[in-house]
Subunit: 337 residues, 2 copies
Amino acid sequence: MSATMHDVARVAGVSIKTVSNVVNDFPHVRPSTRQRVLDAIDTLGYRPNLAARGLRSGKSGVIALIIPDLRNAYFAELADSVMRAAAKRNLAVFIQQIGGGREEEIATLRGQRMTAVDGILYSVLALGEDDIDLLQISTPLVLLGESIFNAPNDHVTMENVEGVRAATDHLISIGCRRIVALGVHPGEVIGSAGLRLDGYRQALANAGITFDDDLLCVSGSWHRSNGAAAMRDFLGRGVPFDGVVAFNDAMALGAMRVIQESGLRVPDDVAIIGFDDIDETRYSLPTLSSVDPGRDAIAEEAVRLLCERIDQETELVPPRLAMPASRVIRRESTTRS
Amino acid sequence: MSATMHDVARVAGVSIKTVSNVVNDFPHVRPSTRQRVLDAIDTLGYRPNLAARGLRSGKSGVIALIIPDLRNAYFAELADSVMRAAAKRNLAVFIQQIGGGREEEIATLRGQRMTAVDGILYSVLALGEDDIDLLQISTPLVLLGESIFNAPNDHVTMENVEGVRAATDHLISIGCRRIVALGVHPGEVIGSAGLRLDGYRQALANAGITFDDDLLCVSGSWHRSNGAAAMRDFLGRGVPFDGVVAFNDAMALGAMRVIQESGLRVPDDVAIIGFDDIDETRYSLPTLSSVDPGRDAIAEEAVRLLCERIDQETELVPPRLAMPASRVIRRESTTRS
DNA sequence: GTTGGGTTTTCCGACGTTGTAAAGTCGCTG
DNA sequence: CAGCGACTTTACAACGTCGGAAAACCCAAC
C-alpha cells in the first residue's frame, strides 16, 4: 500500500498532473509549487509505480540479456559488462539463461516475459541460420555471438578468425610447429568453432605448416571438463605436439591441467593459449595466454545499437554488424625462458 | 503494436472479458467459445501485456536478487541456483549488482526498481547491524549471507562456523599442525570472516593446538588476486606452516598458485582447503578440497520463504532462520599419498 | 408456457501514470 | 483597465487487464 500520485497531490494541495510534472521535470512549474510537491513526496515516501508508467508509456526501461549459462565465466563477465553499459543509459538488465537447447530457446524468445522488455540482447546458442525467421519479432533485438549471420538484426560479433589466427601466429612465433586445435566441432563452418578453426588454418597456411587432421581435438560443449576429457583422449593417441590453441579459456584450463598431470611442462614442452581472456587466466599456474575479444567494447556497442533501435533513431537503417578489435594477451603459458 | 485482448475479442466475436476468462482458465467458458478465442489468439499472435496485468494485480511475477558481483563465481553460481528455484514457481529473477559500497547499496534498496518487484533476496555486503531499519520495507525481503543477524526478516545463511571447523578438523586429521587462516578481517565478529575464523579457533581448541596470531592472513576482499597477494606477504615473513584454510575458494586458488610458485608442494608440503565449492575447484591443479555450503538448498529455501511472505501465508509468523547443512568435499589438495 | 436454477457472457470501473488540450494566472503594455 | 502573451495548473482520457455484479442464455421441471 504505498503512496500514489493521488496521495501526493492531496497532501501538496495541487492536481495530480502537477505532481507528474514535478516528477518528470516538466519545465513550467513554479519553484514554490515544486517545493511543496517535493515535500509531500518526501513525507509520504512516494515512489512512482513502474507498472503504471510502463503501461502508459509502452516502455519498461528493461532490456533482456539472453545467454546460455551464467556459470560459464565468459557469460558472467559479459553480463557484468552489459549491466554496466546499460546502467549508463538508465536501463535495467533482465538476465535470462537458456541451457535447454533449441526448444527452450525458442520458447524463451516467444515467452511473455520478452514482450515486457524494451529490447533484447540475444547471445545465440542453439539456433542456426535456418531459424532466422524467429528473429523477426517486433521487439528490437541485437544478436551477439556467431551462430547466425545475415539475420535482419543488428549484430555484434568478435574477431573469431583474426583472434585465433593471431593466437596461432603467436605460438608459431615462439617455435611451435605441431599445434593442437582444441574445441573443434566437425562440419561446422560458421559458429565460433568453425570460424576459429578457420583462423587456425589460415595461420598454418601463412607459415607454410602442413595442416594435420590428427591435431584436431573435438570437444562438444566448451566446458573445462570437456577440455580436460578431450585432451586426455588426445594424449592417449600418442600424437606428438608442442602447442595448443584452445577455442576458449575454460577448455584451455582443463587441458592445461591434464597436460601437466601427464608430466609435460607448460610452456616448455607444450605452449597453450586460450580465448576469451576471462579473469581466471591471470591466476592459473602458469598464467594462461589468451585472446581478449574486447568484451567491454562488445557490451557497450551492443547496448548502444539496441538503444538506437529502441529510440527509433534508425528506423530505416539496414542491419549493422560490429566487430570490436581483439588482441593477444601474452602470459606465462606461452612465454618460454 | 502487438495485439490486445480487445483485438482478440473482436476477431473471436466475444467480449473482452471472455477473452480474459479464457486466458486465465476461468472455469465457466463454453468449450466452443474457448476454442474460438484460442484460435483468435493464435491468428493474432496475442500475448498478454505484463505491464497492464501487473498494474491491475499489483504483482509483477519478478523477484530481485541483490548480490555484490557476478564476476565472483560463487555469486554467479548462486544466481543460477536462484533462477532455477524461482523458475519452478513461475517467477523471473532480476539480478542487481552492488559493487559500490554502502551508499550504492542503500540507493539500490531504496531505488524505484525495487518497488516494481514482488520480493527481494538480498545478499548483504556493505551494510551492518546498525542498518537494520533499512530492511523495514514493505516489499518482502529475505536476507542471505551473514552480515546482519536479528533483522526483522527471514534469513537464509550457511554453516560458516561448522563448515570451517570441519575443514580445519580435516586438515588436522591429515597431520597439519600449523594451519594458516586466510581471509581474516581483523575485529570482525559476525560476518563471514568473523564466523569462519571462529570455526577455525574452535577446531584448534578441540584438537589442543595453540592458536597463533602469526598464522592469520588478512585479506580485505575475497578475490583471487587478494588471496595470492596475502599469501605472498605471508611467505615473505618466513613463518613455518603446513596447511591453509582459506575462507573462500577464490582466495584458496590464488594462494595455492603462489605457494606452488615458491617451490612448496601441494598437498605434501602444504595442504589447502577452501570454502564455497565453486565449479573451478574441480579443475585446478591439484583439485581443491572445499566446503560445500549447500548452495542449491540455500537458493531453494530462500525462494520458498520469500514466496510464502509474498503470498502472505505467513503474515504473523516471526522471522525465520534457515541454515542448510554443509559438508567437506575432499579433493587432491588435502589428500596426501 | 412459465418458472427456476445453473451456466455463460457482458458491462463497468479501477489499477497509477502521463499526453493533450484547455483553462487559469500573472505582469505588463498601450 | 482591457488585452496580450507567457507561464502554470488542471481536467480528461487512455494505456491493457481483470474483479465484481449484472444480464443473458439454456434447459429441465412443473
